[in-house]
């Protein structure tokens, strides 16, 4: 797939991954490697397994890995709890961020950030220091401070929820961020804010996987690689022009690849 030589080791390496839920196979041999500084896009029809792949990398308990490996910084993480993966630097931006009634967003963000900081042997932040930090990060996603005193995602609009996800990414400074349809449900302005936030957070050391249906996010953040998934497999990998071609020809065009494999 990625035949050229890389200077460093991959941040994330998925090797021939098979996974199922309730004995129903969802992933049927996915392989993928993300190196520092790279942006990957995964596209494909609904139900092709792209969201499942992201949840499995983050450690969702409803899925069983039946074969293959997920390696993070060279270590196999198949058996790690979701919180251990997050603390180590894996971030999943949810397609549908979950509402947690009664839990203040500020406290949630602080506990979460401190869990990561603790892992990195950085000093944990008290409420005051954390507020300073979070104010700075709010700028990135153009969020109002009022968001902090509300319950986690409760009563947030679709766009606000997605921006809250990017805020979490900014605070956690992950090594790899998998953003599951972060662009869905966003208007043009919100999409620009989210995209510019992602670009500012990422750097030469981080990797990003964008899961999306649409070209418009990829217009804002140009990927190094585009993967097309169908029926639990990556059936084609190319450069950013692959997404453009897909946009033009539709997923029907990819049906032929399935037959080839």
């Amino acid at each position: 797939m990625q035949s050229q030589m890389k200077e460093s080791d991959p941040i994330l390496e998925v090797k021939n991954l098979f996974a199922s839920t309730n004995n129903l196979p969802i992933l049927k041999g996915v392989s993928l490697a993300v190196y520092p500084g790279e942006i990957h896009a995964i596209m494909g029809r609904n139900g092709c397994g792209k969201s499942t792949l992201s949840k499995i990398i983050a450690g969702h308990p409803s899925y069983n890995i039946t074969d293959g490996d997920i390696k993070f910084s060279g270590e196999n993480i198949n058996a790690l709890e979701p919180e251990e993966r997050s603390q180590a630097g894996i971030f999943l931006g949810f397609q549908y961020p979950i509402e947690i009634p009664g839990v203040s967003n500020l406290e949630f963000l602080r506990v979460s950030t401190n869990a990561r900081r603790k892992f990195l042997n950085k000093e944990e932040l008290d409420t005051f220091d954390f507020e300073e930090l979070v104010k700075e990060k709010l700028e990135l996603v153009k969020m109002d401070q009022a968001f902090l005193s509300r319950s986690v995602n409760q009563g947030f609009s679709g766009g606000e929820k997605k921006r809250n996800e990017i805020l979490q990414m900014a605070l956690l400074e992950p090594k790899i961020a998998i953003l599951d349809e972060t662009d869905s449900g966003l208007d043009i302005d919100a999409l620009r804010i989210v995209a510019s936030g992602i670009k500012k957070i990422s750097n030469a050391q981080t990797g990003i996987i964008l899961i999306t249906h649409y070209q418009r996010l990829l217009d804002e953040i140009e990927p190094n690689y585009v993967h097309v998934m169908a029926d639990g497999q990556i059936i084609k990998t190319g450069g950013s022009d692959l997404a453009l071609e897909l946009e033009k020809k539709g997923y029907e065009w990819t049906d032929n690849f399935v037959k080839e494999t």
């Binding site: 969702h60 308990p61 919180e83 947690i100 009634p101 506990v111 869990a115």
Partner: protein
């Protein structure tokens, strides 16, 4: 489905107040009859009116049947197998704390309620009750300067007899119910509070109830009177050792608020709940009621109920005074085989009276957690309003939650609003928090305290932190 075993681990909690104080006690013989009632009264050197009050209550109790309408299904209580008076042996008259048995001071120290001058809590006055007697009350002189009386009810009988004679049994009459009648006959100790006209009590008052003996019941009685334009915040805490038998705790609490007075009564109840198989634990059958006698008076109950094998209580408000206000904020957490049947009665009698009910029930394990409440609008309660909100949270798939709201209105010109919800901690919520680096146990306790936030916001500051800790502890797993 959320991983069942993990949840079980998380809600399992060692009870850290389960120790027994080894102390010589003076106990009277087991059983209940007229002589026992007379003996208790005699031990406390009570005036005749009080003995008569007890004897009348006892006669009524004998004619009453133990209620079973709540369907709590507990083992029949043998009232002849209970010791009705048990007190640690100490000097006849204690003039200062130095003369209190160090073992008792140590006990309260261990419970986080230091009583001695050097260590006592700085902003809360404490009345410490051990089995049937009050051990000590702190800050009495400071309070006396403001005219506030805070002492054990036995002392109040001796020193403020006129107030006792005037108010005792006026909110909860002896004939009110089976357990109130029993308490009226045999009550041993408890706290008495009197706030004079126009005084805002300079500090929170608190009673700490400790059951130590396994074979004696605790029947405490609390009476709080807030005169015109006065206010007080009162806190109550309870723990007991672990015994494999059930101990009966049947208390009566009466509150009286006159014109423009306000009483805030907060409880953190953590009696021993029995083990995982439901063996042992306290039967907590309590009658708590407040009378808003004066205009614009206010009584606010807040409770965090986490202990007891069975809790059966309905802190209530009789809203007599025009524009008087009643509030009830409750968190009840049950686990294993615990049963809780709790709620409130808001009886609107006067015009333009207002009541608010916020109840949060959390059931884990095989427990049963019910909210039972009555809102009644009397014929004269014109322009009165009630708002009720009852939410239940289920943890695991073996626990149950019920809501029984009763509404009676005889006044068309009044408003009653009721909202109810039931939720379950979902796997998606847990995964979301975990995927942000938050450990499983912390995620659950975060969601539980989030669920309870409306109620915790009503608790006094130091109590709110305590309650949060208590729930977290109750939910803490072997991993943490």
């Amino acid at each position: 489905m959320v991983n069942e075993n993990l949840v079980k681990d998380v809600v399992k909690e060692p009870y850290k107040y389960g120790f027994v104080t080894d102390i010589e006690t003076e106990k009277i013989a087991k059983g209940l009859n007229e002589d026992i009632v007379r003996l208790i009264s005699q031990k406390k050197e009570e005036p005749k009116y009080l003995l008569d009050f007890r004897l009348k209550a006892f006669k009524k109790w004998q004619k009453m049947d133990e209620p079973d309408w709540a369907g709590l299904g507990y083992k029949q209580i043998d009232y002849q197998d209970i010791i009705y008076y048990s007190a640690p042996k100490q000097k006849e008259k204690i003039s200062s704390l130095d003369e209190v048995d160090p073992k008792l001071l140590e006990t309260f120290d261990k419970l986080g309620i230091p009583l001695t001058e050097q260590k006592k809590l700085t902003n809360v006055a404490v009345d410490a009750v051990f089995d049937s007697v009050s051990i000590a009350t702190t800050f009495r002189e400071e309070l006396a300067e403001h005219g506030v009386i805070f002492c054990s009810i036995s002392e109040a009988v001796k020193n403020h007899s006129n107030l006792i004679e005037r108010y005792l049994g006026t909110v909860v009459p002896a004939s009110d119910n089976y357990f109130a009648a029993l308490n009226s006959a045999v009550f041993s100790d408890g706290s008495f509070v009197y706030i004079p006209k126009g005084v805002t009590c300079p500090m929170d008052l608190s009673s700490y109830f400790r059951i130590n003996s396994g074979d004696s019941g605790q029947f405490e009685r609390t009476l709080i009177i807030a005169e015109e334009s006065s206010s007080v915040s009162y806190l109550e805490g309870c723990t007991a050792p672990m015994f494999d038998t059930n101990t009966l705790h049947a208390a009566v609490v009466e509150l009286i608020a006159l014109d423009d007075a306000s009483i805030k009564y907060s409880t953190v109840q953590n009696w021993y709940a029995g083990d995982e198989d439901g063996v042992g634990g306290i039967f907590n059958f309590v009658t708590k009621r407040g009378k808003c006698l004066g205009k614009r008076s206010k009584i606010s109950w807040s409770q965090v109920e986490t202990g007891s094998a069975i809790t059966w209580k309905y802190p209530s408000c009789l809203l007599l005074g025009e524009e008087s206000v009643g509030e009830f904020y409750s968190v009840a957490l049950t686990n294993n085989l615990q049963k809780a049947d709790t709620g409130t009665k808001m009886i609107h009698i006067g015009p333009k009276t207002k009541s608010t009910i916020v109840s949060k029930g959390i059931s884990a394990g095989n427990s049963i957690n019910s909210y039972r409440g009555l809102v009644k609008m009397g014929t004269k309660a014109k322009g009165s309003r009630n708002y009720s909100q009852c939410d239940s949270m289920l943890i695991g798939d073996q626990a149950s939650a019920n809501t029984f709201p009763y509404i009676k209105s005889q006044q068309p010109n009044s408003e009653i609003e009721h909202e109810a919800s039931t939720c379950r901690i979902s796997e998606d919520q847990l995964f979301y928090l975990q995927s942000r680096g938050i450990e499983f146990e912390e995620a659950i306790s975060m969601m539980v305290s989030g669920f309870c936030r409306d109620v915790f916001n009503q608790l006094p500051m130091e109590f709110a932190a305590e309650a949060d800790k208590l729930l977290a502890l109750k939910l803490e797993g072997s991993v943490g």
